[in-house]
Each structure stands twice: as structure tokens, then as C-alpha cells.
């Protein structure tokens, strides 16, 4: 491939990423707004609420921290709860290594900052479907997915801070997030091994619901990954 065609392919990957990231704007808008509303309600200043959204940039963990703070939990417990919720991202990080490991350090750092559920899942689905993508194209695609999502994530928290309690509960904004996750997971159930992994994930997570936030999910995810790999190996050997 000549340099100019490589450049075109890289730019194409970035715009493909933007296109695939766009639908999540509709999810990020309510979720981020809700954080602004709840954070202000809990007594955080504008700067503090925005600090969470821009620096931590992890919705579920931000809500977990806020929940603990509203209960006046001990300082260390607030941190533990929120970080535990984010531990799944260590798995995301590991699973990106085969695809992005060869990228320059600063690009990997940038991807790490933007590595949340939507960007990760969308990108990894694409990488799997197109093994011929170059590392450059993969990085551009990832940044493309993040491009429409991230600004809305920042700005809508601000809107939530100002809108305050003007948003009625009847909008059921809480349930937009589960719907997104379900919509993301459905197309991934493409083999018996994937279905088995999903089933184990659900069962173990529900059984361990009493454990401190995040830990049950981590164990469930480990069990599910082992199940998926085992079922896949077994099916391959049988064939």
C-alpha cells in the first residue's frame, strides 16, 4: 500500500468511527444530564461535578461514588466502591492489547482515557470483524467513536447542573443505560460459546449480588470468560 492510500484508509476509519459512535449520543445525553442533576442535588459545586465528569469520565463509577458520599461513607470506602465499579476496564484494557498494543505510547494513553463501555465495545466488535485493519486505522477508529460521544458527556452534565430538579422522574432516564447495554450485547451472541458465557455472567453476578459493588461482577466476568473459552475449545475439538 502506498502512503497516500494508507492515509485515506486511516481517515476513513476515523469517519467510520464517528458514524458508529453517533447513536450513543442519545444514551450519553440522559445519563450525563442525570449525573449533573444528582451531583448538584447531593451538594457538589459546579466545578466538583464537572471535575468528576471530565477527569474520571466513567458514568457508573461516578454514580457509585456519589451514592457513597450521600451516605457519608468513609473516605476510603467511597474510593473503593467507585474503583471497584471500574475494575472491568482492566479487562477491556487487556483485551485491547492484541489490537492496539503496537501503537505509540501517547496514543495508548489517549485511548486509555477514552476507554469506556461504548467506545471499547464498538471498537472491539469492529476489530474482530475486520482483522485486516492496521494499528493506525484501529486507533483512528477508536478516536472516531469517542469523538461524538465525549463532548456531549461533558456538556450535558453542565446542562444537568443548571436544569437541576426540573427533570421529572417519569422520564425514566435510569433505564436508558440498561437498554443500551442490552442492545450492545445482543449482536455479540453469535455462537454457543458466547451464549454460554453470557448465561454464566448473569447467573454468577446475580448470585454474588450481596458482595461489595463491582467485586461480584468481576468474579462473574472471570467465570464467564473461562466458560466461553472452554465451550469454544470443546466445540472445536468435537468438530
Amino acid at each position: 500500500m502506498t502512503t497516500s492510500t494508507a492515509k485515506v484508509a486511516t481517515r476513513r476509519a476515523y469517519f467510520d468511527g464517528i458514524r458508529d459512535g453517533l447513536p450513543f449520543v442519545f444514551v450519553v445525553i440522559p445519563f450525563s444530564t442525570l449525573f449533573g442533576v444528582v451531583a448538584t442535588d447531593a451538594g457538589l459545586t459546579l466545578a466538583q461535578a464537572m471535575g468528576f465528569t471530565v477527569l474520571v469520565i466513567a458514568g457508573a463509577a461516578q454514580f457509585a461514588a456519589l451514592q457513597m458520599m450521600m451516605e457519608d461513607a468513609a473516605f476510603a470506602l467511597v474510593l473503593l466502591a467507585a474503583l471497584a465499579v471500574n475494575l472491568r476496564m482492566a479487562m477491556y484494557s487487556a483485551s485491547l492489547v492484541p489490537y492496539l498494543g503496537a501503537a505509540p505510547m501517547w496514543q495508548r494513553a489517549l485511548v486509555a482515557y477514552l476507554n469506556f463501555d461504548q467506545t471499547y465495545l464498538t471498537s472491539v466488535t469492529r476489530y474482530e470483524a475486520r482483522p485486516e485493519m492496521s494499528v493506525r486505522e484501529r486507533v483512528q477508529y477508536f478516536l472516531g467513536v469517542a469523538t461524538p460521544i465525549t463532548p456531549f458527556w461533558y456538556v450535558m452534565t453542565l446542562v444537568g447542573i443548571y436544569a437541576g430538579t426540573a427533570i421529572p422522574d417519569a422520564w425514566a432516564l435510569d433505564f436508558i443505560l440498561p437498554i443500551t447495554f442490552l442492545a450492545m450485547v445482543a449482536p455479540m451472541l453469535k455462537s454457543p460459546a458466547h451464549i454460554a458465557a453470557a448465561a454464566v455472567s448473569i447467573i454468577v453476578a446475580l448470585l454474588l449480588i450481596g458482595l461489595p459493588s463491582g467485586t461480584g461482577l468481576l468474579i462473574a466476568a472471570f467465570a464467564a470468560m473461562i466458560t466461553g473459552a472452554a465451550v469454544e475449545t470443546w466445540l472445536e475439538n468435537r468438530a
Partner: protein, 111 residues
């Protein structure tokens, strides 16, 4: 809430650094060193291993209804999954699920 301003900012700072380090961890440290095939095989199941377990409690015991199972949310969840399986398209799943959710909430409000 009874934290000092310094404490709140410390929480934000530590969470920011901690979350970044979690996200950077493997990607930053391993780089392009090869990983064993078994590890790669396990990692390919990451999304499907994390998401279902994360969503299941949210669907069964939504915080918005005080942790009580809610028929409307359950039906919306099943619809999202069904549409997603059938269309293999994330956007259709979200649109269909949201439609069923609001239709359901609208009908219950009228009853």
C-alpha cells in the same frame, strides 16, 4: 454530605488517576509483546462476560422503583434483546427498547 472541600477534591483526583491507571494498565504495560493463545482466547469473551452480569440486576431490581421488579422495564429489556438479536444492529435495539419502555410507561400512566 459532610466532607470538606479538600476531601471532595481529593476523592475526585484519586478517582481520576485510579480510573486512568485501570484503563491504561495492560494496554500501557504490555504494549506489543505477544500474549499466550489461551489468554487471547479468554479475552475475546470479555464484552459478553461483563455486560450481561452488569445489566441483569439493573433489569430485575431497578433502583427507580425502589428495587422492586417492574413489568414495564422487564418487557422493555426483553424487547431490546429480541430486536438486537433479530436485527444484529445496536441502534435498532436502543430505539426499539426505548419505544417499548415509553409506550409501556404511557399505558400504565393512563390506566
Amino acid at each position: 454530605m459532610s466532607y470538606t472541600t479538600t476531601e471532595i477534591w481529593l476523592i475526585i483526583a484519586i478517582l481520576a488517576v485510579g480510573t486512568f491507571l485501570i484503563r491504561f494498565s495492560f494496554l500501557g504495560l504490555i504494549g506489543d509483546r505477544p500474549m499466550p493463545p489461551l489468554v487471547l482466547r479468554l479475552l475475546r469473551f470479555t464484552p459478553v462476560a461483563v455486560l450481561p452480569g452488569m445489566v441483569a440486576p439493573l433489569v430485575l431490581w431497578p433502583a427507580a422503583t425502589g428495587g422492586q421488579p417492574d413489568p414495564v422495564r422487564l418487557i422493555a429489556a426483553v424487547a431490546t434483546l429480541a430486536i438486537g438479536l433479530w436485527s444484529r444492529n445496536v441502534l435498532w435495539g436502543i430505539i426499539g427498547g426505548a419505544f417499548v419502555l415509553y409506550a409501556g410507561l404511557g399505558i400504565t400512566a393512563l390506566l
